[in-house]
Amino acid sequence: MSGAPVGHGALGAPPPQRAGLSEPRWVRWLLIGIVLTFLSTFLLLPLAVVFHEAFRKGIEVYFKALTEPVALAAIKLTLIAAFIALVANTIFGVAAAWLVTRFRFPGKSILLSLIDLPFAISPVIAGLVFVLIFGAQGWAGGRPIAFIWPALWWVTTIGAIAWVIYGIWAWFTIARPGWLWWVGLAALALAILIENGPVLAWYSSLFNEVFQPLVTADGKRQIATIADWLASEHDLPVIFATPGIALATAFVTFPFVARELIPVMQSVGQEEEQAAMSLGAGGWTIFWRITIPNVKWGLLYGLILCNARAMGEFGAVSVVSGHIRGQTNTMPLHIEILFNEYQFASAFAIASLLAGLALVTLVIKTVIEHRLSRQVGKAL
């Protein structure tokens, strides 16, 4: 075996290193046996069961389960939600990786922790927070339009406070705030003034307008609440609809691209970009011609991991979806319904698609890891 020491025992004495540097052969094979049994039981058997159960009732049942209109709708919705989450998180991930690896600024480690936050949070809570904002009992009362002014108000107020704190901090640590800081402060103050004056007026007039059609000539209300009216005519439903599912999916898969891209961009370094800049290349030229080609494997790595999680997300989506068959059911939710109705063959047929996706993801992941380790040493 490898690792056997050489050049020992000229006098026939047992080599002392041998006992110290490797386990006896039987221990090695025992450990290998235990580990392979453990991995097979917990990884291979569950995977095998999926395909076994999916094809148990024959190939016709399998394809029938996949081509049902409800199943097709679930597949379509899963693809839509995953696509939205993927696009959103790619833009974010690239921006965050550029920010973190190309600049030095205070608060970077806090930002990194915040990016990782969704990994630490239960997916069920990821769904719950959106129900609390957009649900019927939430801030927006189920109507995002009711959310606009309060959200604006909070963001600017908290922003202004942060701006002032940052200015005071910078005054003491770096230098007196420059004109840019004063302009920003003035803009925030102006925004708060406008929000408390004209915007509030517009907002309440909107509500008054909304009240009018609800009252008939004899003074009776036609519709119970403004919320009902808005929901029926003017607003985009979020919870129990595609936007909510996409939001929850994006929340859960939020860190993937950024997290995989950051170490790769870190190890690639910025010398090439600086060289391009000194030769007169603009920011976007540097980004598209140098950065993206350099980190494409890292980006792809993040994308496939993000995609696998987005398509398979269950907990978060389960909270916001409402489980309407053929409309708000994604593939994992469709599996749940079929399984609870004892339609095991159909449930495992859909599950086999997702398990296939997981296998493809693992294969691509292994290939990319191989390429990445060649490209940047031990980046991942």
């Binding site: 995977l47 069961v49 974010f92 990782d116 936050l117 910025q270 800049m277 495992f348 693992l362």
Partner: protein
């Protein structure tokens, strides 16, 4: 001299010379706030609306307390199982050569890639009394070949039978599955980095194999082991998809906190769901801080070594 330079100039030189700071900072902070921070703040603001006594009233019911006990207890056991087998697996994958090693190394990440709902139904099918593993745990299939018809035999049967589905053991199986890669993937790179020289030096000084493992190798791995353990535990606490099928969610027996949140939402008890969610979020924050601290510790220890 230095005070005469405007702040934005001084900033630029400290930041780095490449363009795009404002744009990337803007995108990052906006996305982060809209998608993550404001929603999480919403949960806390909703929870604070309940008041401390209201929160306590929602959290101190026997059902909630039991769910917390089950969630934390079983997650801890699953994390310990993962610790032991993860360490063993990392050791075997790094140190030994055997056929299929690369395949098993790649398949370790399966729980990350396999959707939790798929894992849940396949584990349930696997451990059902007529499943591939469940059949072996059911002595009627193993010993008697058929389920007993005689009343006296039934008693023995019930005594010997070991059920996984719809028990806390089943929850443990699911949580072990989803936490499996964490310890392996944190320990593996550290183990690969440990040079043989240290071990040879220890052996030359007369240490035997056990002494080398416990005095030289394990202390080196300790930060990675604890980090992996904490990651697996944190993941297990929040897990929902793979558990809900195998646990059956029996009242006061196999209910876990994430599922209880969903039950509360389905009952339109938004306050109860908010209280539970806020409590879980606080736990998640504590876990995140712990893991961050542990990772820094590990990096510092790794940095100390030549």
């Amino acid at each position: 001299m230095s005070t005469s330079i405007p702040i934005h100039r001084r900033w630029r030189s400290r930041l780095g010379i490449l363009p795009g700071f404002g744009l990337s900072l803007g995108i990052t902070v906006t996305w982060l706030s809209v998608l993550v921070l404001i929603p999480l703040a919403a949960l806390f603001i909703h929870a604070s609306g309940l008041g401390l006594s209201g929160l306590w009233a929602k959290l101190s019911t026997p059902r909630v307390i039991h769910a917390f006990q089950v969630t934390f207890g079983v997650s801890l056991v699953a994390a310990v199982v993962n610790l032991v087998f993860g360490l063993l697996t990392a050791w075997v994958l790094v140190r030994y050569r055997f056929p299929g090693r690369r395949f098993f190394d790649a398949i370790v990440d399966l729980p990350f890639a396999l959707p939790t709902a798929v894992a849940g139904i396949s584990l349930t099918a696997l451990f059902a009394p007529n499943g591939w593993i469940g059949g072996w745990l059911d002595p009627s299939g193993l010993v008697l070949g058929v389920r007993p018809t005689d009343q006296a035999l039934w008693q023995w049967y019930d005594y010997l039978r070991f059920e996984v589905n719809y028990t806390q053991f089943g929850i443990g199986v699911a949580l072990t599955f989803i936490g499996l890669p964490f310890v392996i993937r944190t320990v593996q790179p550290v183990l690969e980095e440990i040079s043989k020289d240290t071990e040879e030096a220890a052996a030359c000084l007369g240490a035997n194999r056990w002494q080398i493992i416990f005095r030289v190798i394990l202390p080196e791995l300790l930060p990675a082991i604890i980090t992996g353990f904490a990651l697996a535990f944190a993941r297990a606490i929040g897990e929902y998809g793979s558990v809900v099928f195998i646990s059956g969610s029996k009242y006061l027996q196999t209910e876990i906190v994430p599922h209880l949140i969903i039950i509360k939402l389905e009952e339109y008890d938004y306050q109860g769901a908010t209280a539970l969610g806020a409590a879980m979020l606080v736990v998640s924050f504590i876990m995140l801080l712990t893991v961050n601290f542990l990772q820094r510790w590990a990096e510092r220890r790794a940095g100390d070594r030549p």
